[in-house]
Amino acid sequence: MNVINVASPAVRVRGLRKSYGEVSAVDGISLEIAPGEVFALLGPNGAGKTTTVEILEGYRDRDSGEVSVLGTDPQRAGRSWRARIGIVLQLASDAPELTVAEMVTHFAGFYRAPRPPAEVIDLVGLTGKSRARIHSLSGGQLRRLDVALGLVGNPELLFLDEPTTGFDPEARRAFWEVIRALSGSGVTVLLTTHYLDEAAALASRVAVIRDGAIVAEGAPAELGGSRAGEAIVSWQDRDGRRSERTSEPTRVVQRLAASYGGEVPGLAVNRPTLEDIYLELIGGQQ
């Protein structure tokens, strides 16, 4: 392992702000991503995910705040910095008349020490389509080509913007395997997604973003803090369904059993799923 990696984060953001006219898209975001980590920015459309990521990628200038990506301010970064990052855009569909191999080889020519194009094509599972024109690829294959183009420069940090939107379940699983393999080889990944299961499956850490601010951050299983440890005990009484949120469900059940003198009608004890917590976070209820 590289000792320096521990000391200097791959991405460091402090108090990031960006507005378009009167509309504030990013309103004071701070985050830190360690080298080799898969970090997911999770949130509904329009929450500020894409604006944040585009600032980190060097596509947009910020209004205020500090940003350091691989030790450099993206706003002032040049070619050498771009050679160290890989960007997989949302819905890119260019060069329809080139073949997969031609396109990947062409992009490899932008870098000093690219990965061999055939190896990258194989990694994303497109070897059988190497000689196919890009316009003949399916949506999922196009997306894997996008990933190949983001990887061919052998980046230290890979940006993945909503990578599996429009995938069928099988293609998604295959795509996740590619990302896991990458992460296993030490590449830092910043993933944006609005699919909770995707973040849970891939990311070691998740930040939920809503209205331009981070409302929760942590390992997917710990999202929502203490609430994740709570359970909901529900039962049926004369007026209908009753429920109680508690961190000590056994005690509640014992109390209910005592008051009913035995069987509690319609008793159920539920833990909130990640989905429940996420919806609560982005819905801003309670």
Partner: protein, 284 residues
């Protein structure tokens, strides 16, 4: 071992881009990819590349034998006019539409996110336009020689005139095409109306589709504000030199031609530098 390593960040950074492939080599590689894309795309080949040759055969067949005066046939004028139009099609129309589509399809954004030197993008476009424009002229000349008994000039002076009119024309129209690519809000929905329509109108009033001798003087005055009219005039001076007596003032006005095309190059460059964007206007 793993492939990814991290550089020590406290070390003084080397000059930007050191060790990365240079502008020239990336330009060549962009040019190759641009040419492949252009000639493989049937729509571009048909509507940009083949159109002038088809028009030359068609218009020449219908009107070509008629005389314009001074021993010049309408067919002669069409050869020169369509070379001017063909040069503008392969530069202005080609770049205007292709860059508008590339911006819409995020090609530009994706390239901007790589260490590709931005100048190499334009280097590749220059290569693609030059190859397409030269090929276009060769095809039109071949059609002219085969169908309309065109005699290619033999004097070095005529070919020198061709060289500078071609070069200035390609440069001016390419810059205008790059600038025009930023105008349509959507390449797919209004690219044709915004980029192709003005070019079509210019071709009718600048002596491409209609021999210049038949265009009313006030329309020719309007046309002479734009580069195409001067390019066609320059091409007539090369390929139909005997038509000089039909020209206003019985002169080819080479000095004015160079001046107008030069002025459009400057204006086009300023437009490009102030309007070129790697991404579409922010949607929301």
């Amino acid at each position: 071992m793993t492939a990814a390593t991290s550089e020590h960040e406290s070390i003084q950074a080397p000059p930007d881009g050191r060790g990365l492939p240079g502008v020239w080599s990336v330009s060549l590689s962009r040019g190759a990819v641009e040419l492949k894309s252009f000639f493989r795309e049937r729509q571009a080949v048909v509507f940009i590349f083949a159109m002038p040759a088809v028009m030359l055969v068609l218009l020449g067949t219908i009107f070509g034998r008629q005389h314009a005066g001074a021993g010049v046939t309408i067919g002669d004028l069409y050869v020169a006019g369509l070379i001017g139009g063909g040069v503008m099609a392969t530069s202005y129309q080609n770049l205007g539409m292709s860059i508008a589509f590339e911006r819409e399809r995020l090609t530009l954004k994706r390239l901007r996110g790589t260490p590709m030197p931005p100048a190499a993008y334009f280097g590749g476009k220059i290569i693609q336009v030059l190859v397409a424009a030269v090929a276009e002229v060769v095809i039109l000349l071949a059609v002219g020689v085969v169908f309309y008994h065109l005699h290619l000039p033999t004097s070095a002076g005529a070919w020198w005139t061709f060289a500078w009119v071609f070069t200035l024309g390609v440069a001016a129209c390419s810059l205008l095409g790059i600038a025009a690519s930023s105008v349509p809000r959507s390449a797919a929905r209004n690219g044709v109306a915004v980029i192709t329509l003005p070019f079509l109108v210019l071709q009718f009033i600048s002596g491409v589709y209609v021999p210049f001798t038949l265009v009313p003087p006030w329309l020719r005055d309007i046309a002479s504000v734009f580069p195409l009219e001067w390019m066609c005039r320059g091409m007539r001076s090369v390929f139909v030199p005997q038509a000089v007596v039909l020209e206003p003032g019985h002169s080819w006005q080479h000095a004015q031609t160079a001046l107008v095309l030069g002025a459009w190059i400057v204006a086009g460059l300023i437009l490009c530098l102030s309007t070129f964007r790697w991404q579409n206007r922010r949607d929301g």
